[in-house]
């Protein structure tokens, strides 16, 4: 068996054409149940070796810093890097088109069978699990080193306001996000240029 060291292999080359990119994203999207990102990392870095692990981590970090679904932002970034605007359409088309059509088929199925006891029960079971999966993901996020700051209080405040006091997320975001970003900017500035003592 071959040992895999994706980050140490020589310069990654990328897909040969937008068509290949489209098919690759379509394939990885269809393998992604409950999140496409892990599949995308495996497919793009380890299997196809289109980019190094470091490059992927970098793209992902930028995708997380901006609004929007992370995997969609990754598609925009990689598509643009390899084929410009055509690449963006290829990556996003591959990512969204077939899963969207599948979703529509499921919705039609849902409409006709939602009142069948077995289907309704199965959906209730999945909904209960899904709620737990989201809570688990939020809990996992609290382990990030980015939470080791008093800014974690902004997160607690947002949680209490939206889930406890039923405040709309829009004003919560519009107030908390700028404050938290300014505070992050301030602490980075003071860290980089320590005041003389």
């Amino acid at each position: 068996m071959q040992t895999e060291h994706p980050s140490s292999t020589s310069p990654a080359s990328g897909p040969s054409s937008p068509g290949v990119l489209f098919l690759a994203f379509m394939q990885l999207a269809l393998q992604g149940f409950g999140g496409v990102l892990p599949v995308a990392r495996h497919a793009l870095v380890e299997k196809r070796r289109w980019l190094t692990m470091d490059a992927f981590t970098d793209v992902l970090a930028r995708s997380q810093a901006l609004p929007g679904p992370n995997i969609v932002n990754v598609g925009v970034s990689l598509g643009a890097r390899w084929f410009g605007i055509r690449g963006v359409f290829a990556a996003l088309g591959g990512l969204m088109l077939v899963p969207f059509m599948l979703m529509m088929v499921l919705c039609v199925f849902y409409a006709s069978f939602a009142s069948t006891p077995e289907v309704a029960g199965a959906l209730r079971g999945v909904a209960a699990v899904s709620a737990g999966l989201i809570i688990g993901t939020a809990l996992r996020m609290t382990a990030s080193p980015r939470m080791r700051s008093w800014r974690a209080l902004f997160g607690v405040a947002a949680f209490v306001a939206v889930s406890g006091m039923r405040v709309s997320s829009v004003p919560v975001l519009l107030i908390a996000a700028p404050l938290s970003i300014v505070s992050a900017w301030w602490s980075q500035r003071t860290k980089k240029s320590p005041l003389p003592t």
């Binding site: 899904s130 996992r140 939470m147």
Partner: protein, 174 residues
């Protein structure tokens, strides 16, 4: 119908640039708009459509397509999905090169550090909101708590837990 489509479009256009950490962080806001403000679906339907999207392959943002479909059919699904992702895609397309530069690097860290706690707090709210509608009995509540603990503490693939939830529900336990 056209009214519905344009309201749907405006709602999701507004959410696109606010979706820090992905679409799931804004589920409480979507619930507020679609269930509470417009009355286009019941809370259980909202939770079931989310469940449907979780059980299907593809990006998690497709929950927006399912919600749009419930409001205005395939046209609603297309409109809501495009409005949700196009503004954030344009921002990513325009800002990506700068964020990748050495000057952009520190801006990226600032945005990451500033937004991560808020994204976590809002995601937690989304989970609690769904749990409120989904946990109609003790077994559902146990499923939610177990899924939360397992996905927090282990690397087990979520599909196993989704399959277990579907199976328990189909035999009438949930």
């Amino acid at each position: 119908m056209n009214d519905r489509l344009s309201i749907l479009a405006l709602d999701f256009l507004m959410l696109s640039l606010l979706s820090v950490g992905g679409a799931a962080t804004l589920l409480p806001e979507m619930h507020r708009n679609l269930v509470e403000v417009h009355g286009w679906m019941r809370s259980e339907q909202f939770a079931q459509l989310y469940a449907l999207a979780q059980a299907a392959p593809g990006p998690n943002v497709l929950v927006v397509s399912a919600l749009g479909w419930q409001v205005a059919g395939v046209a609603g699904a297309i409109v809501s999905t495009l409005c949700m992702i196009v503004p954030s895609c344009i921002l990513m397309f325009c800002a990506d090169r700068f964020l990748a530069s050495s000057r952009g690097q520190s801006l990226r860290e600032i945005l990451d550090n500033g937004l991560a706690p808020i994204a976590a707090g809002l995601l937690g709210s989304a989970g609690v909101l769904l749990a409120r509608t989904a946990d109609i009995n003790t077994i559902a509540l146990i499923l939610t708590i177990a899924a939360a603990l397992i996905s927090w503490r282990t690397r087990l693939h979520p599909l196993w837990m989704i399959a277990l939830g579907a199976a328990l529900g189909a035999v009438g336990w949930v």
